[in-house]
């Protein structure tokens, strides 16, 4: 059946595998963004229109039989619930604020919503004047924070979560800490050495690797629990064109222009 096609060394293959990973992650991000937009723009708008019609029926419920009036009320509540669900799912699939206002605001917004849904106390600490990063970098960091918070909620047993995003000395740091039961030393070592340890961490490591950063896991320095730390260099590649070309406005790139177009829509 198959032919041995070897004659290719591993060093030659590794960049191709990394490129495949990058393409697949990008494809998934694009798909999530598309579904989020469709849910919000199509289904969300349709539900809003149905909601308005039902509200009209409810306003005139005196003209209905008691059973029909009850049904109209039930329908109004169901539509409100469905609209809220659509909004949440759509935002989780792709945070709309991220493209428009950037990572710090999107993270704060997400943490607020997460705290409300999970009942965890979430503290967010952000550096002032955090620069705009390119779309890939911002989305990767956002997804990592999202995954870590989900892990804390599902697995850590912690009642609190702490998110820190900072930019100091040409270095971006994203740290997510909890005060839960912690991750045992052996698994921490495996994660820190890049070994496979469950899909969530593998996905995060892959994202970090693709943007040239590093992800490490430590015990929470302030007590019980775990700290996940992502560090990456703040170089030209990481900065959005508007940031990296602040001194040279003529060099503003395509991404910047499309971002501006997106805002004007």
């Amino acid at each position: 059946m198959a032919r041995d096609i070897s004659e290719r060394n591993r060093a030659e293959e590794a960049p191709k595998e990394a490129e495949l990973s990058a393409r697949l992650l990008q494809a998934q991000d694009e798909e999530r963004r598309r579904i989020a937009r469709e849910l919000h723009d199509e289904v969300g708008q349709l539900l809003a229109a149905i909601g308005m019609n039902v509200a009209q029926v409810v306003r005139e419920k005196d003209k209905l039989s008691p059973a029909a009036a009850r049904s109209a009320e039930d329908m109004r509540h169901s539509i409100e619930r469905a609209s809220a669900e659509i909004r949440t799912v759509s935002y989780l699939l792709h945070p709309p604020l991220l493209d428009e206002v950037g990572l710090p605001t999107a993270l704060r917004w997400y943490a607020d919503g997460f705290a409300e849904r999970s009942k965890l106390k979430v503290t967010v600490e952000l550096t002032d004047d955090f620069p705009r990063l390119t779309q890939d970098y911002e989305l990767s960091l956002f997804r990592i924070a999202q995954e870590c918070l989900t892990n804390i909620h599902r697995h850590s047993g912690s009642f609190t979560a702490f998110v820190r995003l900072s930019c100091v000395d040409e270095k971006v740091e994203l740290e997510i800490r909890d005060e839960g039961k912690g991750i045992n030393q052996e698994i921490q070592s495996k994660i820190n050495s890049g070994a496979s340890v469950g899909v969530g961490f593998r996905g995060m490591q892959e994202r970090v690797r693709l943007i040239g950063g590093k992800l490490t896991v430590h015990p929470n320095p302030n007590g019980n629990g775990t700290s996940v730390l992502v560090t990456l260099p703040l170089n030209e590649e990481a900065l959005a064109p508007s940031e990296s070309t602040a001194l040279n406005p003529d060099a503003a790139g395509e991404e910047d222009r499309s971002r501006a177009q997106g805002l004007s829509l």
Partner: protein
Amino acid sequence: MVEEPRILIVDDQPNVRKALRWYFQELKLECSEEENGLDALQKAQQAKPDLVILDFSMPVMNGVDAAKVFQQAMPEVPILMLTAHFGIADKAAKDVGVLGVFSKDNIAPLVKQTRTILKIREL
């Protein structure tokens, strides 16, 4: 003449198919692609793949249903599954004879398994 191993890629997302096709063609494998399980089954009758890579979640016929039908129609063809819903897909897929389920977030194990199945040696 020895023929190149043939892979049939089935995924409803064009960018995922494109990425996998690009990679496997770099490995000198012959690739064909379909966007759902039903079309893939028809294609497989002619293309006679050495390996099928199915997405878990697809329109018309999802990956698990497609794997079931593939197993009946061509039990000799190994099937791997790729998914964004890791954990949900795993058991359902293995129950219908899929050899491995892999996350789209971490592609290295899929590549390794493909190499093993098709006996592509790493030097």
